[in-house]
Amino acid sequence: MTLTLEKSSHSTLTLTVNGEKHSFMLGEGPHEVASSHTLAHTLRERLGLTGTKISCDNGACGCCTVLINGKAVQSCMLLTVECEEKEITTIEGLGDPVTNVIDPLQQSFIDHTAFQCGFCTPGIIMSAKALLNENPSPTRDEVKEALSGNFCRCISHYHVLDAVMAAAKKGGNQ
């Protein structure tokens, strides 16, 4: 990383989110990105990508999960200034941006009503997506393990497992 925070009022930061580049001024002003800002904060408050939810803001609940270079990370535990030159994907970036067709995993969540209040759902979908990227044919236990950092208080877990397993199967992997 080449940024120099000392010159923050003149420095810029470029993030690549869902395939689009966004540049920010670094600083403490209302429209700037401060060195203390988390990626979750920047996604929500600067880019309006509110599909990424903040619940615990402490790395415990997984509601803020996004993909960085295809891997699931909790965006409340990363500083925005650490995320330059990385490919960030949020829930808004799933699916086909041209046809607007949603990702088969999202469709599977709809088909299985794999949510209740839906607050933790984007984070769960992103964690599951990261798993399927890496392991397209997981066992049910592997799905459980991959989602073990995702809090859901309504207890939609069982439907989520059905949805992820069905999506993996539909992907022709089982």
Binding site: R44, C61, C63, I110, T113, Q116, C117
Partner: protein, 759 residues
Amino acid sequence: MKDYRFIGKSTPRKDALDIVTGRTKFINDLTIPNMLYGKVLRSPLPHALIKSIDTTEAMRLQGVKAVLTYKDVPDWKAGFPHHVRILDSKVRYVGEGVALVAAETEDIAEEALRLIKVEYEPLPAVYDVEESIKPDAPQLYDQFPGNVFPQDNVVFGPHTLNEVVIGDIEKGFEEADFIVEGTYAYENIPNPLPPESPGVIALWEGTDNLTVWLASQGPQIFKAAFQRRMGNINLQSLGNPVGGSYGSKYMSWQYALPAVALSKATGKPVKFCYGKAEHLAAFTLRLGSRIHGKVGMKKDGTVTALSGDWLVNSGSFSEATQGMVAVGCGEAQLMLRCKNWSFIPKMVCTNRTASGQVRGFGGQELKCALTPILTMGMEKADVDPVDFFKKNYVKAGDGFYWRDGDWWVCRGIDYSNAINQGAETFGWKEKWKGWLKPTSVNGAKYRGVGVGVHGNADAGEDVSEVYVRLEPNGSAIIHCGIAEHGTGQRSSICKMVAEVLQLPLDRVYVTPTDSLVNPIEIGPVGSRGTYAIGGAVIAAAEDAKRQLFELMAPKFKVKPEDLETEDGMVYVKGKPDKRIPWIKEMQYYGSIMGHGRFESDFSIPNFMMIFTEVEVDTETGKVDLIRVVGTTDVGQVIDPLSLTNQLNGCLGSAGIDSAIFEETVLDTRLGRIMNCNMIDYKWRTFSELPEMEHSILETPFPTHRFHAIGVGEITPSPGPSAVLMAVSNAIGVRIHDYPLTPDKVLSALGKIGSPMRRE
């Protein structure tokens, strides 16, 4: 059973696409131009007078728009009776608000909190419910001497139930073959902990116009409660999708009033969302519940008398404690067909963050303490608990006092079939080896089974009023103020209307949860969504259909009752070939408004039983939940996947797991909650899910158009006492200290001394 087009079929939730794409706007996802951010300075002391408070420096900070203290907030009072100010000159728990700040950014507001100087005069504090009612205990409120909340309240009308006194208690004990007596408690004050912390945006404009956007299970309740208290202002309440509530976000004044006060002071919209630490340490928890009880029983499991003192620890204020006690008292009678009662609650305040509404609403807290006393009797009589619950659960013709203080006679169904089927699904007969006997032993691992029961008569509670508007293009709009908090009820009422009017589901809509466009709606609470709200929705759709047929009948030269409608077309019964679209008679400028109203009916109790199997590692003391089977009878399933979601919910929202590991840890030296983050507050992960199965019966309820009744609210409540029973059976020792953490299990086994926390 009738085969419906939508009812009973799995259909996607209407809001599903928004949820899975992240487009659902929860409260903290909204911004309004010129919006300020509110923050609360919170007390570090459990009980103190504010001697002085200096806000000068905070006010000087650039970007700060208002700093309010108890001296300048409006004197609106909340709670039952009205006793909680937004800010007071006295603090009664660690985390109580001391000052409010509104600023241009959250960071500035946070910084301003640090600049407020407060001088406190500390007072002694009290945390234990019985310590609090001693004569020399520190007193929280001048108006509540002895720290006891008054019971002469009007939560549920002038005769609100505040005790269960029936028959002749002395005679009841005389008739008993034996008497058991004991003290049991459920005092781990777990947090229902929805992922979305409480939040609101408030905008006060001019002298008397207030708009609130609320993350609330009952956004219109805020309007109903506070409109007049605020001087009969124009109050519009808007309900956002709610990121989980489990009852806790029903009464929203705790978070709404500070934002309203800040908006009133600044004239700008103010967003105020709790952080997770505030949510865990300074928001409402479950009630603390302790019962000194005595039960008279016959050898066959007939209960002849029940007497008891129910000590209810409400924490620093009563949000709705009298209401929860009323419902709890009603629910005790539903589980126990006993002729002689003397069951006397006492509602007590203490110096910790308050208790409030949570799924289970008084009943879970009561059951968790009462059931262990009953099991002492069952053990003595050597009665199988499944047989005991089957014999004692309310049946048609049985009477009970409900929350309104009236005597209701059950018109519901017999749940014995549900109990039988649940027991069979679980394999109860094979697994039950008798009291304090393990089901199986494998080395140090002992398995045991337990069962619990719960039900309430609130499925038909309160009035609901709904309009269904038919549009000429063959669509229907439901005007209903129901919020979506996860049950899928906004979608389910669309299914009901689609079924009545035989419209495609995508031609039925619900208005936004907006008090300007909908009649008042108390909301989806107490499992009332299907029966009460659904009842009004169905009546409104039927009324609209009746008007439609009256309009169309002359065209067909038949009587209105000879007509049918399907997919926005009308035809004569038996002659579906000749169809006329609605628009032909309604014209493009016409609409039809049907009206439906549901009146309170407490005569139809619902039912939930939970079977649990646990495995206790007698070397480490760890309790694992192996299997859960829920059984209920819902009359008619409305949406299968939404129903199983709600039934699976028995693990969450401070339900079953509050018997195993969930607790809010209060340090009684400092009055502070020690585990106010989601690492130290324990919750169940995907990798530790038990096997879960449900037995769902559909015995038609004659009093509902689709013969259905709701059960969502009650699903967690039978669970904790079932776990207690299962663990006791596994290890062969009665154990009753929620939650059953390893230290307590090892202590019960005599392997270690008393756990430290039992000081």
